[in-house]
Amino acid sequence: MAANYLHNGAALAQTVIPLLSWAELRQHILAEVEAGARLAAFFGQPATRERARLVAILAHPGEGNLSAWTANVDKSFNSLTPDCPEAHGFEREIWEQCGLKPEGHPWLKPVRFQPPKSASPGADKTAPIQPGVTDYFQMPGPEIHEVAVGPVQADIMEPGHFRFQCHGEMVYHLEISLGYQHRGVERALLNGPHRRSLHQAETLAGDTSIGHATAYCQALESLAGVQVPARAQALRAIALELERLANHTGDLGALAGDIGYLPTAAGCGRLRDDFLNLTALLCGSRFGRNFLRPGGVGYDVDEARAGQLHDRLQQAAKDAASAVALLWNTSSVRARFENTGHLAREAALDLGLVGPAARACGLARDVRHEFPAGLYRFCQIPIATFHTGNVFGRAQVRWLEIQRSLAFVQEQLKALPAGSIQTQLPQPGASLAAVSLVEGWRGEICHVALTDASRRFAHYKVVDPSFHNWIGLALALRNQQISDFPLCCRSFNLSCCGHDL
């Protein structure tokens, strides 16, 4: 393994990361992606006013490892997107944050409507920013109409702006504009870790607190060069699967609700509450706040508590099976789920989709399997895939994962390793780079942390699975009825705050 290759949850010295010319790096990324690699992260680190350093993290599922590459770029660079569509969002982000123009990008526009980083070339921090005000794709034609929705949505949900180009009820194109939830968390993490950093990681996406906190802690631990005790690793995995269970069950209930099938909507809504309460049994918070600590976990689970968790899971598993079985056996439900929101396998592959949305298109992508870290190195969960790529497929994948997570957690609770739950965490090493991947319930979470000579974060990059997947929702809406938007949207259930950071 070359020096610039590393495993998930490991760190390497920044000096071993090759510095290529952009032409070389571009060629290399294209060749690797052609050979099956994925762009896990791609971002710019503003160096001086005139240039920035581009950092690419490639994930190689075949080898189970990751590699880091850099190139210095002045003002503009030849866009990857026309030859590697999965780079589209990353390049828009680099343009917005660093002011470097990806020449030839087919649809260059702001990602989050945020002011540029201070050292960026051409940074103008005084210009007023109007979120959502940008170019949108428009279809000409006398009977074409445009529907604009948001940022304030019609339900209790996060803000986003959606533009539909419609002919009658038929959607020809959907464009999604986000950024309303932008809080500046990546920038707040700079020069950290601070007292508040863990809490900000937990609130990158509040429904994925465990997922993001695990990615953050794993990055910090690899920078400090410590191993987390086995017991803490097991408890982290249990919490991560409980988070998946709560959200997947809630999604199945909400999907049923969106088509007006109330028995499952009611049953799964209630079950989601139960699963959140199981996380609260671990640490008091239904979202797992404060459970993870850099170096381990904050709360232990004794035998009585493990037994209680196990028994309550057993009951929940029974209730879930009975509530969800109704979905598959009801013909009116199947009629609404099948043939709705189809996304082709090739599109999912080209756009670099992750998580259940990708697995429902038949792509066997799962960090727990491809890049295992922590407990997943020893105990594996089979990947749940389906082949239809539609709402039905995304619901099926969730149900398969619910069953496997339930079995996994119950098994782990019976065999918790003995020992401590926390190890002392020294300061991060100087001038290191760490990459940390976690399979959150929405898919691959990627955190990249770079430290400076004074052992502080010189750069911190967060890639939420939603960042890859929003474009998948837009494509799934093509040739659908606009009234199916809520159903399609729910079948992806993507995060705005995770995307907007």
């Binding site: 409507f113 945020q114 920013i129 979120p131 940022p151 304030v152 019609a154 339900d155 209790i156 949900m157 996060e158 803000p159 309303y180 939830q181 932008h182 809080r183 500046g184 968390v185 920038r187 707040a188 007292r195 508040r196 863990l198 809490h199 900000q200 937990e202 609130t203 990158l204 996406a205 509040g206 429904d207 607190s209 028995p263 009611a266 049953g267 809504g269 209630r270 509450d273 959140l276 309460n277 609260a280 049994l281 640490c283 008091g284 918070s285 239904r286 979202f287 706040r289 404060n290 709360y299 009975s322 509530a323 079985a325 109704l326 056996n329 009801t330 013909s331 995060s495 705005c496 705050c497």
Partner: protein, 264 residues
């Protein structure tokens, strides 16, 4: 077959809605801790161990003055409880946290050890909203956890509808706003417009540490310090995120629906 399955499933389930507030409130998880109590009289002289450990700077001890804890900006991590050598800050285990005035969330001085719980609305507003309250929810830069636990109130276990409280799609149909998040600058205009679209008289509820004071994001340049700098707020519900029971308690308290109830 599926029709029979569905009916059987329904019969098997029975009624799952909790008895609260007619019955006692469901217990909080044992590790939850509930609200905080601050006895600044117990503070050791010169000690300010709790001040630097607070991630949101919710605790201050100006000069040699009394300890003050702003429960509005508190994310309930309990770091201060662990740090305090004199047990001046303790967890109460109480789910009731909502207040009508911002200053009622400032804890510390004698007589203000705990949160001063919200009073019911006054005569005219109570007559208007007491039996039917329609709310428009606006997410403005938070993390979606407050939204998630507000959604839980709509499930059969809690059944918010039985109190006449409902979330509606349009601000024109609403009696008030329920705001979550610190109010990102990118949501400022949308929040103002939504507020203006609600007919008078209207209520505003700030839900969670972010919407009250910024929470984990307080002080970051792309966000405001919560909703009250932009619109007048009538009810503050602390937490990060608040437990559904805390949210429900706040709503019912404001509507005077807990008076004389076992769950009050």
């Amino acid at each position: 077959m599926f029709a029979i399955d569905t009916i059987f499933h329904r019969l098997q389930r029975g009624c799952q809605t909790m008895r609260y507030p007619d019955g006692p409130a469901p217990a909080l998880p044992d590790r939850h801790g509930g609200g905080l109590r601050v006895d600044s009289a117990k503070c050791l002289p010169g000690c300010s161990d709790c001040v630097p450990v607070c991630p949101t700077r919710a605790i201050t001890r100006p000069g040699k003055g009394r300890l003050k804890l702003d429960l509005g900006n508190c994310i309930f991590c309990a770091a201060c409880v662990e740090a305090c050598p004199a047990k001046a800050i303790t967890q109460t285990g109480d789910h009731r946290l909502a207040a009508r005035r911002r200053e009622d969330l400032q804890l510390g001085p004698p007589g203000a050890e705990q949160v001063r719980l919200a009073a019911a609305l006054d005569g005219k507003l109570l007559r208007l909203f007491g039996r039917s309250l329609r709310l428009r929810q606006v997410s403005a830069g938070g993390c979606n956890a407050c939204e998630a636990d507000t959604n839980v109130l709509g499930t059969i276990g809690w059944d918010l509808g039985r109190f006449g409280i409902q979330f509606v799609a349009s601000p024109r149909h609403a009696d008030g706003l329920l705001i979550t998040g610190p109010v990102s600058r990118n949501m400022e205009l949308a929040l103002r417009k939504t507020y203006e679209a609600v007919p008078d008289p209207k209520l505003v509820i700030a839900l969670g540490a972010c919407a009250i004071a910024g929470g984990p994001f307080s002080g970051l340049p792309p966000v405001h310090h919560g909703a009250s700098g932009l619109v007048p707020v009538d009810l503050f519900i602390p937490g990060c995120p608040p437990h559904p029971l805390t949210i429900l308690d706040g709503l019912l308290r404001m509507l005077g629906k807990l008076e004389g109830k076992a769950g009050a």
